[in-house]
């Protein structure tokens, strides 16, 4: 293991920062420390517990207390800041000043101003079949801005409503493509997933399909892709009648990680209109007095004149759990190899031959959500270790 070399990749998720508990200072990255062997001290137990707590308390992230996964470094996730008193990271909430007199016209002015920053570029939008990206498509069409729409599709039963929406929304685009996820299932090619500094950043579940979609955007000359990230907060959270609202923009609205790992290497920017303060202010101000709205009925009703009835009158959302479990099952041969490699590197009992055998013999289709989280967390550690020692082009040797 002494000749194992870790090289810093040119592209990695820069939205994660680190707090050195010894020097009491923040660091942009820990590649040097990883190269010096800190990966050996990674606390898998702490990581698994953190992932479990996150799954349980995802609705109340403020209450999650993360254990350190490295001896002297705390991971500061995107949209978080280190709190010295609590000795833990906490979500950063940005104030949004609500204004009176907002209207559809003022909202569209803000939207137009936002999109004007990309004038002259060929733009794209995720053709997911979901409400948030569909609203972006409807805005672009209303403003007469042509765009490319690419997404994944599948023939599963639970996906039938998304398929219908994708079919309708494809007509909004100047060019639309749907890629069959059965050809690029979840967890496929996880051995090639991007190099990350911690397993937290390991984006390997939809790695293969994301790569394919990005390549298609690049082949079609798209330089900016709009994501619907942030809509889940902006259209859902209750908005009181106070003059200021607080939103976790960095945590819930940004797509910098996905941009850094997938889009930037292809020369494309991934951005989300819903993180633009002008748009946030307009929508939040229009929603003053609204209670929590998980199905997003306010948005469906407000934009019903530009959305198809499938989105304005119904709030169906496909459950991806079946896709995830199928992908895990198909990934078992690669999982076995990754676990064997992880055991050779760490000698950790989680990856021992007996534990690996037991792990792989488990019936993923009988898994409940907690067991799935645990399974995925272990796999992310193994995939992280594998990626760490992969040599790549354009690396900076530390």
């Amino acid at each position: 293991m002494n000749d194992k070399v870790i090289t810093r990749p040119k592209y990695y998720d820069r939205s994660f920062l680190f707090y050195n508990t010894q020097t009491k200072k923040k660091q942009q990255d820990i590649w040097k420390e990883l190269q010096e062997g800190m990966w050996r001290d990674f606390d898998i137990n702490a990581f698994l517990e953190n992932e479990k707590q996150y799954a349980i308390h995802v609705e109340h992230k403020d209450q999650i207390r993360n254990q350190l996964v490295f001896p002297h470094f705390a991971v500061i996730e995107p949209g978080h800041e280190w709190n010295s008193e609590k000795q833990d990271s906490e979500i950063v909430y940005s104030p949004v000043t609500l204004v009176n007199g907002c209207s559809r016209s003022s909202l569209m002015s803000a939207v137009e101003e936002y999109f004007s920053k990309f004038s002259g570029e060929k733009v794209g939008v995720h053709l997911s079949g979901g409400l948030d990206s569909s609203i972006i498509m409807a805005w672009l069409r209303e403003l007469g801005i042509p765009f490319v729409a690419i997404g994944f599709t599948c023939n599963r039963w639970e996906f039938r409503t998304e398929r219908r929406v994708q079919e309708v929304m494809a007509d909004y685009a100047s060019h639309a493509e749907l890629i069959d996820i059965d050809e690029h299932p979840f967890y496929s090619h996880i051995e090639n997933c991007p190099k990350c500094q911690t397993p937290y950043g390991v984006a390997f579940k939809d790695f293969d399909i994301s790569q394919i979609i990005v390549k298609r955007y690049r082949d079609l000359g798209v330089t900016t892709v709009f994501s619907g990230q942030g809509g889940d907060s902006l259209f859902v959270e209750s908005v009181g009648k106070e003059s200021t609202l607080k939103l976790a923009i960095g945590d819930e609205f940004e797509v910098s990680g996905e941009n850094d790992m997938y889009y930037a290497p292809a020369g494309i920017k991934l951005v989300t209109p819903f993180s633009d303060m002008g748009i946030i202010q307009q929508i939040a101000s229009l929603r003053v007095g609204e209670q929590e709205d998980v199905p997003k009925w306010w948005a469906r009703n407000y934009f019903k004149d530009i959305l198809p009835r499938e989105l304005s009158q119904y709030c169906y959302v496909a459950d991806m759990f079946g896709l995830s479990l199928s992908g895990l099952e198909m990934a078992k041969p690669v999982t076995k190899k990754l676990f064997e490699e992880a055991y050779a590197l760490t000698n950790n009992h989680y990856f021992s031959p007996i534990e690996t055998k037991r792990f792989l013999e488990s019936n993923v289709f009988e898994m409940e959500f907690q067991a799935y989280i645990d399974y995925g967390a272990r796999l992310s550690v193994a995939a992280w270790l594998h990626a760490l020692f992969r040599t790549e082009e354009n690396n900076t040797k530390i």
Partner: protein, 190 residues
């Protein structure tokens, strides 16, 4: 109530619901029967509409909650029956194949019957595991069900999760149930 088996063919396997045991049976793919022919020949237009709405959820209608369930005269009968159905489903499932043919006609429609059952067991979390007794209760107590309703039992493949739900008059009976959309029907009771 007539039962129609609707096997699902999923990646080389056939999944069928065994109504006597109450479980999903998985077998290697045999011949792919075209069950749609049977349905087309022998189902009323009203019930066909309910089945079509499950196939294409954008045809589904939704109703407002009403308070009609509070005004039924034989509430004590409904309570006893509801608790009996629930107990039998949980402890002696095969007997349900007898009860499923009952017609007590206690409620004007499936929506009222559904709300009554939710009031019987107010904890929403436990209601998640009571979909089958709830659906049987609704099917056997709604006056409109015999002519306008369909009871579905579905599977969320490839998981082992199953769910039961009622569509009546082209509307889901249960206003709290958002899960039915993920489940592919393996058995239909008309």
């Amino acid at each position: 109530m007539r039962a129609i088996n609707r096997p699902i063919f999923y990646y080389g396997k056939e999944f069928r619901f065994n109504r006597f045991l109450g479980c999903l049976i998985c077998e290697k793919d045999k011949s792919r029967d075209d069950f749609n022919n049977e349905l087309a020949d022998s189902i009323s237009d009203e019930k066909r509409r309910d089945i079509d709405a499950v196939n294409n959820p954008f045809m589904m209608l939704y109703h407002e909650k009403s308070n009609g369930w509070k005004a039924i005269k034989q509430a004590w009968i409904a309570k006893m029956y509801g608790r009996l159905i629930t107990w039998l489903c949980l402890h002696c499932y095969p007997v349900m194949n007898v009860f499923i043919h009952f017609h007590l006609n206690l409620f004007s429609n499936a929506g009222d019957a559904s709300l009554f059952y939710y009031n019987l067991y107010p904890d929403l979390k436990s209601q998640q595991t009571l979909c089958l007794p709830r659906s049987i209760f609704i099917a056997t107590t709604s006056r409109r069900f015999k002519q306008y309703g369909v009871l579905f039992i579905g599977a969320f493949l490839p998981t082992v999760r199953m769910h039961a739900w009622i569509i009546e008059d082209g509307m889901p009976a249960d206003c709290f149930d958002k899960q039915w959309i993920h489940y592919n029907p393996v058995m239909i009771f008309l």
